[in-house]
Symmetry: C2
Subunit: 191 residues, 2 copies
Amino acid sequence: MRVSREQMAENRERILDTAATLFRERGFDGVGVADVMKAVGLTHGGFYGHFSSKDDLAAQALGRAFVHSGQSAAEARASEPQAPRRAIIDRYLSPAHRDDPGHGCPVAALGSDTARQGEASRLAATEGVRAAIKGLCAITPGATADERRTSAIASYATLVGALVLARMVDDAALSDEILAAARAELCSAEA
Amino acid sequence: MRVSREQMAENRERILDTAATLFRERGFDGVGVADVMKAVGLTHGGFYGHFSSKDDLAAQALGRAFVHSGQSAAEARASEPQAPRRAIIDRYLSPAHRDDPGHGCPVAALGSDTARQGEASRLAATEGVRAAIKGLCAITPGATADERRTSAIASYATLVGALVLARMVDDAALSDEILAAARAELCSAEA
DNA sequence: CTCTTTATATGATGCTGATCATGTAAATTC
DNA sequence: GAATTTACATGATCAGCATCATATAAAGAG
């Protein structure tokens, strides 16, 4: 059955958002095209009217995840204008973020996966990382722009690594300790 | 055809080492049982005489990867006894390590994958991370043991995150810049 | 209102991969 | 060295999954 043009556009958006969440939760290989479509409320048949392949979907969904992630960072920043860096760090390293990969940072959720993905996904990731670094530069202290950029990249790495480690281990206390250690380091040092 | 007991034990070791490499290169889902056996020079039939399932193999191979990773760190430390921390950082953040995930850090290569893996793999990861933190504590400066531990965990996170980011992006210059930024931060700051 | 277009549904198709069944020849055992 | 065990090979089974073919009913064009 056919749907209206705007209904179709909305369906496409929902496929992208749903895929962005499912991929982050279960990995690129852990989610099938049919899974995504079913979660949206459609069947697998219509998929190839929207995307040319699963790889195509993966790349676009990854881009979408980066956009949402940037919006979340902007939101955190705006919520505490006098300490934006701390607000972002606290949100990123929160247990809530750790326990909800589907709506969180795509680097922490899909980083090692993406390194093995096709060119389109790698490009989306490159754009996303570039944008994130730029965003972090704006709230990172430092004398020169170069210093700020170096420091922003290092902070980004610490955030990502701490979240990956915290999700990897099977011990709640150790996981919490990892998040706390990264928070402490990032908030004390202003390199 | 049957082989001798020691030949069998050696085969088992080679299966584990080969799996540890292949999984890091292609991810848990990117490698089949038959792939591993073929790489060892055997056929898929004998696999279940050595391991109870692919999950079982994954967990044991992950443990193996952590052991090798620890040995590599010890080697780096020993090669430069007067600056062991710097030696480890330089090796971890080298382009050579970035470009050879199959023989490198299992957290950077399989971190986001492992978080979605079964209990056995999660346990192996927890042990591995614990051991890595302990090893880093020994070469991390700081007034108290608590301070050293916090700093060691944060450094570990920075290393992991930088390598994940450097592998994810599709731009050689940006990738190099990420490695260099993490190196700069880790070697300048002694928090 | 009729005709055409098309977004989606239903239902193949073909491949990959985990696991199991059975055979075989070489190693152990006695 | 005969009997038995067993590590591995060959080949099947079964399920999941990407992709394609065809049908259908609703949207949009005239």
